[in-house]
Structure formats: C-alpha cells, structure tokens
C-alpha cells in the first residue's frame, strides 16, 4: 500500500517538531508493518476477514483542512462530560473536562509522560497496531488521578463528517485509571458521510491497583467507514474492569481486544452486542490472558446478523502456569435473521494451570418459529413478535450495562436498527 509510505514520509518531514525518539518510534513501527504487510486469510486469527478494501482506495491522513463546521446535532448520552474530536481534530473548547482527570494531546503526553507510550506501542505483532504507531495523528492521553471517583461518565466522541475525499485517521488513546479510582469512560465512534474513510484505532487502558473502570465502546461509524481497532487492557492488583462493546457501524470492522490480568485478584467482564446488516462484516478477536492467580474473567458476546452480513468472533482464554484459582467464562451467541447472514465463532481455551474453573460455549440460531407462532396465537402480530424475540435475545447482554443513560442510548440504537431492517411494531 504505497499511499501509506507516502503519508508517513510527509508526516515525518512535516512534523519535524516532534522529538527525535518519537520519530524513531514511528519509522521502526512502519518497518515492522512493512515486513509483514496487511493480514491475509492464511494468518492464524485473521482467516475470516478480507482487508483488500483498504488497498483499493488511497486514503490520506486527515489534515487541518478537514474540519467542517461542527454539526448542530451530535450523538448525545445524558449526564456525561463530553470530549469531542471531529475528523481527528480535538475540539477542546467544545469539550467538558472533569476534575481529577488529566486530558492531554499525544504530543503533550509524549513530552511529559513518555513512559506510558512505551508500555503499549512497542513490539506488537498486529500490523494495524504498528501502522497506528507509525501514523498516529490524533487521540488523547487520559489520566485519572489515584483515589478519584468520577461521577459523570467521560464521553469521548470521535465523529467523522463532511468529508470531501477519502481520509484515514490513526487515533491513539492512552487511558490510565489511577489506583483506587472509579471511572466510566465511553469511547464512541460515529459518522455521517458519503465519502469512504478509514479509522485505525489503538486504545491502551491501564487499570492500576484496585481501580474500577467501566469502559463502553460504541462503534457506529457510517457504512462508508472502515473501522480497525486494537484495544488492550492491562489490570493490576484487584482492579475491576466492566467493558461493553457495542458495534453496529462501518462496512468493515475488525477489533482485536486483549485483556491482561497482570496481577492477582483482578477481574474483567467484557461483554458486547454486534448488529450487522447489508453486507457489513464485523469481526472481533478477544484474547484474555490470565497471568496471575485469583483472577476472573467473563465474556458474553451477542451478534444479531441480518441481510448478507457476516459476524466473526474469535475468543481465546489463556490461563498461564501459576494462574491458579482462575475463573473464566466465555459465551458467544449468534442470531441469524436471514439465510444469507453468516456467523463464524470459535471459543478457545488454553489452560496451563490445574486449579481453575473455565467454561466456554457458542451457539448460532435463527428466530424460534415456535416462539413466533406462540406469540401470534395470542394475537401479537408477526412484526411485534419478531421484535420481542430479538430484543429478548439482546436483553441478557444489555442488562449488563449498569449505567442507565448508556443503556438508554444503546437501547435506542437497537430499536432504530430494528426499524432499518424492517422490524417495527
């Protein structure tokens, strides 16, 4: 992909105010990327997704000129402190910052706090991650103070709109939840445009000792968007992660999620709901590393697939030697609404310790005809019956969203999505 190299060269010349070390980091990462190129179907863990769409269009990096007037209506979640980024440009004056939370641009963060970069950006086998390191052009560092209890969720809205030609962004979010802190962070991608774009996101989230973090990731890009993401969580002692990944947008979506339970007593819940229609291809891979004893992990992912869409879910739980008393659960459920929709899921367990409790399972089914008939025989029309059944399918995972405002937002998204695919009461 020649356009990437061109973009990198321009960037490195143009951003000559960047510290030498950062520029070295970029070019090393690009070298690593070039050695392997984009993933292909022969790669372990990438079999089900075709990335050639990213080569067919030349994307250029978003530039300062790509800042349209801020749209009057933007997705809103009640009672949140919103941080707004438009086409890659941080809108500080339109953002509400929270007490006890430091928000820095990447340049600023690199100048004051380079060690947080070192944790995440080196030696990664994911070529998209390396590309992000080479080309990172937006994103923020968000640092929650130790002991801080942040009441209002921090809502990072990354919005893409008003494009005139295909652009790409390589955002990097570095989030550190301080020891004993409690925070809710919403990482939200959305867009409306007729022009293709590509988001290649890396998010690195560190939960310090005893931190509690609720992380909701909402991916509702325009269908002209391609969304690639690498989300890594690292949990220190007794830290608690509650993550929810909602995805309904972009034509091509691939997210790698990694959870490192790096110290004893850490617990993670990573759940998700994916809605796919048309020819959307939504692919997620999750790896949970149980590195130390007494950690627990829970996963519940649900996919609702309509039209000719495809949903891929590849889950691995790795219990290292010495990670005794591990408790790990993984459940994947796919609901196919049409004969043309496809689901591939594989839950995998790799266990190198003996005193562990692990379970995994995956199911794929269609709407239960008997249940539909049962409802119809009570006077409920087909559409409503389908709606009840699909919402019922989603409910088990929706119920795990603890914040009511976030729950309301996603619930409305589900309702609208059902309307779009023709299921209305």
């Amino acid at each position: 992909m020649h356009y990437l190299e061109k973009e990198l060269n321009e960037l490195i010349q143009f951003w000559d105010e960047e510290p030498e070390a950062l520029r070295a980091l970029r070019s090393d990462a690009f070298k690593q990327y070039k050695e392997v190129g984009l993933p292909n179907r022969k790669w372990e863990g990438w079999q089900f997704t075709d990335f050639s769409a990213l080569e067919k269009t030349s994307y250029r990096l978003a530039s300062p000129g790509d800042l349209p007037p801020v749209p009057e209506t933007l997705p809103t979640i009640a009672n949140c402190n919103r941080i707004l980024i438009i086409n890659g440009h941080f809108q500080e004056n339109l953002s509400v910052l929270s007490d006890k939370v430091t928000v820095q641009t990447l340049q600023h963060a690199y100048a004051t706090n380079p060690e947080i970069f070192n944790k995440t950006v080196v030696n990664n086998s994911n070529p998209f991650h390396n590309l992000n390191t080479a080309l990172m052009n937006s994103g923020l560092a968000i640092i929650v103070e130790n002991n801080a209890v942040i009441d209002n969720p921090i809502h990072i809205l990354y919005y893409t709109t008003g494009l005139t030609e295909p652009i790409m962004n390589h955002p990097l979010f570095l989030i550190v939840a301080g020891a004993d802190s409690e925070t809710t962070i919403i990482e939200h991608y959305a867009g409306t445009t007729n022009v293709q774009y590509w988001q290649n996101v890396v998010t690195y989230i560190n939960l310090s000792d005893n931190a509690v973090l609720n992380h909701t990731r909402i991916q509702e890009e325009d269908l002209n968007g391609n969304h690639i993401a690498d989300t890594a969580y690292s949990l220190e002692k007794d830290a608690q992660l509650n993550a929810f990944h909602f995805a309904s947008g972009s034509s091509l979506y691939r997210q790698n999620i990694q959870v490192n339970l790096a110290s004893s007593g850490a617990s993670s819940t990573v759940n998700g709901l994916c809605l796919a229609k048309d020819r959307q291809h939504l692919d997620q891979q999750i790896i949970i590393n149980h590195l130390k004893e007494n950690c627990s992990s829970n996963q519940l992912f649900k996919y609702i697939l309509s039209d000719s869409s495809a949903g891929v879910f590849n889950g691995r739980v790795i219990v290292s030697e010495g990670a005794q008393k591990t408790d790990a659960q993984q459940t994947i459920r796919n609901l196919l609404l049409t004969d043309k929709a496809l689901a591939h899921s594989s839950p995998q367990l790799e266990i190198y310790a003996d005193d562990v409790k692990c379970s995994h399972g995956s199911t794929t089914g269609q709407l239960d005809k008997n249940a539909i008939f049962y409802m119809r025989s009570r006077g409920i029309d087909v559409q409503t019956a389908q709606l009840l059944l699909i919402s019922g399918f989603a409910k088990e995972v929706m119920e795990t969203i603890t914040n009511t405002n976030i729950d309301t937002y996603i619930d409305e998204k589900l309702t609208t999505w059902l309307e779009h695919i023709g299921v209305t009461p």
């Binding site: 239960d368 049962y374 025989s377 009570r378 006077g379 087909v382 009840l388 059944l389 919402s391 019922g392």
Partner: protein, 246 residues
C-alpha cells in the same frame, strides 16, 4: 361457533387428518380423546393457524366465516385461543410484558382503549388468584424456568386474561398433580360461559370429572371414529381404543 367440514391436513407430506367433521356451539364443552399420534394436536394447530400444518381440503368456519386463509393473529383476535400441549419458552421476553402486549392487541382490535400498567396489574392479579399463581411468575421470561405444571397454569392464566370465545385446550391436564389439576379445572370453569365454547383434548377421564363435557369424541387415524357423552370417556378408560379399530 366452530364448524369443521371434511378437514384434511398434511404435515411434511404425511396425511394426518383425513376428513374431520365437528360442530361446536356456544356454551358447549367438547372433549377429544385418542391415541398418541392420532392427530389431536394437529387438529388444534390447524384451527390456531400453525402454518406447518397444511390444509389440503375441507374448511374451518368460525362464527360462519372461513378462517383457513387467516393468520394466527387474526384468528386469535377473532376469539380463538389454543392452550399448547407444549407451551413455548420465550427467552428474554417478560411474562407481564407479553400478556399485556397480547391483551392490548386484542383491546385495540375491539376498539377499546389499551390498559395502562396500573389497570393491567389490577386485572392480572384477579386472574392470578383464580389459578393460584404467585406474582413472581409475572416477572420471569415467558415459561422460562417454569415447571411442566406451571406452564399449564400459565396457559390458563393467558386464557382467562384474553377471554377468547373459543378455547382449545391441548392436554392442559397432562402432567399435573392432583392439586394443580383442580386449579386448572377451576380456571376452566371460571372461564366457562354460555357464549363461550371449549374443546379439550385429553388422555384422561379425571379432568372430565371436574368439567361437564357435553360430547366426547374419539379420533382414530385422522377421523372422528366415535362420538358420545361422558360415559364414552369411562368406557375408553376401561377398554382402551382397540375396540374402536376396524
């Protein structure tokens, strides 16, 4: 009220019903008995409109109009109710929500205002008392985690709530303990009125002791082989079905 004329029904290329004739008037209670696999549930499902049961000839009239081309929901709204032999579990759909949606669909169809949550709760509590069901069952998903007997009680609860004109009860008495059987029978008697009719499919005479059946029909090989009064049920209990084979 219900008139079945020379009904032939096929399931997956297999002829199951081979010429059923049955007329049910308002106020009547008909019992249908017959061996396993004789086609009783097929008949019930054909009346309710389950589309895997294909009507190849004959007709089903409800209040004088043919319903064979109508959807299950149209039949339900017109006043036909089937209590399922195997009530279906609907994961994630709350029982109250489901009942309320069904009742309000019906009220809307009748041009009545929809009940709000408070009015609905008042009504449903009366009905729960009849079937001696605890309110906690309302908060679960429909039939989810219900015991066999509780599912049947839930069917009766739905019947009492929806107040259909015709209730077809497919083995609602099967698998019930003695107390539950009495409760279900009480529910049926509570529902019974001069302007309503009941068709109960059963294997046992015992439920009929609580209900006064006007007719007992025996279904053999896709046809009604014999019709009689309650004493026919007694005879069947004694002698089985073989004396009716020919």
């Amino acid at each position: 009220m219900l008139e079945i004329k020379d009904l032939h029904v096929k399931v997956k290329d297999k002829d199951i019903l081979k010429g059923i004739n049955l007329t049910v008037h308002p106020g009547e209670l008909h019992a249908i008995m017959g061996r396993n696999g004789s086609g009783k549930s097929t008949l019930a499902n054909a009346i309710a409109g389950q589309d895997s049961y294909e009507i190849t000839s004959g007709d089903i009239l409800f209040n004088g109009t043919s319903i064979v081309a109508e959807s299950p929901e149209e039949r339900a709204l017109a006043g036909i109710f089937m209590s399922f032999q195997y009530p279906v579990i609907i994961p994630g759909v709350n029982n109250t929500y489901f009942l309320k949606a069904a009742l309000n669909a019906k009220r809307k169809h009748q041009g009545k205002t929809e009940l709000d949550a408070v009015e609905f709760l008042k009504l449903i509590r009366e009905k729960l008392a009849v079937v001696e069901m605890d309110e906690k069952y309302l908060h679960r998903a429909v039939n989810d985690g219900f015991s066999g007997g509780e599912k049947k009680q839930n069917e009766i609860l739905q019947m009492l709530t929806l107040e259909p004109a015709l209730a077809i009860l497919d083995e609602t008495d099967s698998g019930l303990d003695i107390d539950a059987l009495k409760i279900v029978a009480a529910g049926i008697n509570n529902y019974r009125r001069d302007d309503r009719a009941i068709v109960i499919i059963t294997h046992y005479q015992r439920i009929l002791k609580y209900l006064e059946a006007d007719y007992v029909h025996v279904l053999i090989n896709g046809k009604i082989a014999k019709t009689g009064g309650e004493n026919l049920a007694e005879q069947l209990e004694d002698k089985g079905y073989s004396w009716l084979d020919n």
